[in-house]
Amino acid sequence: MIKIRGQRVPVRELSPEQRIKNFSSVPLGYSAEEAVAEARRCIQCRGAPCEVNCPIHLRVLDMIRAIATRQFKEAFFLLKEDNPIPAITGRVCPQESQCEGVCPLAQDGQGINIGKLEAFIADWARERGIKEEIVIKERPHRVAIIGSGPAGLICAYDLRRWGYQVTVFEALHKAGGVLQYGIPAFRLPTEVVDYEIALLEEIGVNFQLNFFVGQNIAFDELRHKYEAIFIGTGAGAPLFLGIEGEHLKGVYSANEFLIRVNLMKAYRFLEYDTPIVCGDRAGVIGAGNVAMDAARCARRLGAREVFILYRRTRKESPARVEEIHHALEEGVTWMELVAPKRILGDEQGWVRGIELVRMKLGEPDASGRPRPIPIEGSEFVLELDTVVEALGTTPNRLFLKHAPELAVNRWGLIQVDEKLQTNLKGVWAGGDAVRGNATVILALGDGRQAAAAIHRVLSPEKLG
């Protein structure tokens, strides 16, 4: 039916000059006409590699077909069945290494823009207040979910739809996990996240914010009070390099930098009370999504020069292609094959620069990427007044300390079987707490899988 046609429908975006003055969404999203035109380019190929390569096997072809024929509502319901948070995944999934990467049209860079179609449909429905009808048949079982990131939210959503009494415990004062505190509004507008959470509240998920399981209630006590527990505590503890100078003022972990900006809205200081200081020249260590987010925030906070400092090369960067592209457009300087040796400060204890050593690539390491090797004697100093360390994060040891009976591996990641059950009866886990720094879609998939496993255990009669 539909033949290969032409180029990807371009996504309208704010210009780089406009963007760096605010935190508004950079992509403006497809209009209905654009979405239909883009959907019509799909050749509906047999075998649907996009679906195969999607971690949750979203029915991409059906969705695209519905959009191509302007059946937006149908597209939405179909999408929502597979993926409860399409407005979010459409914006943050690494599509280029999942669905879009294997689209036959991608070979000449014209793969179908599946992410933007997904976001379009979700936004279209949200703007019109179109929601699924959920009829809930109550069940008496109580389930506790620890952590309100994507893994916890999806687990809560599924279990609640099946009638369970679900309580989500969240340490922070807002639900959403990284979606709320980490990913900046110019990529994922706050209202999109808030809307999804409001929907969960509407169907009767109980949120207990400002509640840290372990500190507020013993993990054991929680196990007694609830018939099943899902742990979706993420991997939110920052890593530091452990080099000289990390005590200096002006040095942040990416987590602190992003929490101040996103959760606390420090970019609207005076309207909001949480401060942030970002100087003229900011260096961001690392080159993943988190580093791109920090670098782009620094530009928006007024830094005139922002450097990405990466010990490998762009090819090895784990960031989404779109984020790197946007960061460069916004004037971020990419400095690769350099590694920090120490951070330099002045007498008042403020950062003044960083000593870097140049690197070359050697043999592949455990991650399969070439190992960076320092070039002796190539040290040099880059003047900076802000340093953000975006080295990745590890599981929160505060929670693990309170649940010593829980089996974890040597990185503190919770060990689970293929059904996501931990070594403890009635306790499941998923998302970053199990995988380390992974993705929203994998967390979502885990939340779903754990919900199904919990359902099977609590209501075996239903499944026959």
């Binding site: 340490a171 500190q215 507020n216 200081v277």
Partner: protein, 300 residues
């Protein structure tokens, strides 16, 4: 969780005593722990130590000094009004054991932070010598409460209007040399301004007395997620919110702690100035309204 203000007391010109409803905190609280509060949706998250907990009433007591915008805003709330968010208890409880003879040193609002610790140490059978100090008599808080749970109490004020003239650290220095206590003190616990805590560490070091301080670093989440509260013990990085807030005073690098507290100073001053202006403008408006009303009243 919102926390309602049950009772509000002014202890001195800039220090307040708030009993607030926080049943989840009250039932789990142990001496040495703190909460993080956010006064309103747009507010900053700030840590405050729990000075008392009343599980039977579901309340906790916070004692705070007005030092910036957030604490000023907090001080303007009335009984019955609510604090938007309150999470806790956070941090590790103090180590409470039978040590024998213990000295507790408190300065300023640190006295309030010390109160539950003194109480718990006494209950554990220790002989607690408390030293508390402030600028002057009018700024000295909780004297009676501390006295009630200490074996003996020494007071120092900068101007000598109450107790001895001078610093609590001077008193500490002297006491440690006294016949009856020399060599007998098992532990010193100090909470107050960082400069005071550093001085205490310097005084006790030659005596080789185990000394504990509670560090008041800048915090955001209080659960180990941001690293803003990092402190250095020798070369080791620790997070005050989850590894502390209490640390071995002889290993803490106080220079870094003090320096890092200044990181946001320029912005904090700005927020303070702007907020004061807004308050004044509001007061002016009220005054003019009242005057206008009086004006019309006198006309009829």
């Amino acid at each position: 969780m919102k926390a309602r203000i049950i009772t509000r007391q002014k202890l001195c010109p800039d220090i307040f005593w708030y009993e607030i409803s926080a049943p989840h905190v009250a039932c789990r609280f142990q001496a040495g722990q703190f909460v993080i509060i956010q006064v309103h949706e747009r507010g900053e998250r700030i840590p405050l130590t729990v000075a008392e907990a009343h599980p039977e009433r579901g309340t906790i007591v916070l004692v705070f000094q007005v030092v910036g915008k957030t604490t000023l805003e907090l001080s303007l709330l009335k009984e019955g009004e609510e604090i938007e968010n309150c999470v806790g208890p956070l941090g590790n409880p103090s180590e409470i054991n039978f040590f024998g003879q213990v000295i507790c040193v408190g300065g300023g609002t640190g006295i309030a932070c010390l109160l539950p610790i003194v109480r718990a140490l006494s209950a554990a059978g220790n002989e607690v010598i408390s030293l508390i100090g402030s600028r002057s008599r009018d700024y000295l808080i909780l004297e009676d409460k501390i006295k009630a749970v200490s074996s003996s109490l020494f007071i120092a004020t900068d101007d000598g209007t109450r107790g001895e003239r001078g610093l609590v650290t001077d008193v500490l220095e002297r006491i440690l040399e006294e016949e009856e206590v020399r060599g007998k003190i098992q532990r010193v616990i100090a909470i107050g301004p960082p400069l005071m805590m550093r001085k205490v560490a310097e005084i006790t070091r030659p005596h080789r007395i185990k000394t504990i301080v509670s560090l008041n670093t800048i915090m955001v989440d209080g659960t180990g997620m941001c690293g803003s509260c990092r402190v250095f013990l020798g070369k080791a990085m620790k997070l005050a919110c989850i590894d502390g807030p209490e640390f071995d005073a002889h290993r803490v690098n106080f220079d870094d702690v003090i320096s890092r507290l200044e990181m946001f100073r320029a912005k904090e001053r700005l927020a303070w100035a702007v907020y004061r202006q807004q308050l004044e403008a509001r007061q002016m408006e009220i005054k003019t309204k009242v005057r206008a009303k009086e004006g019309t009243a006198s006309h009829d």
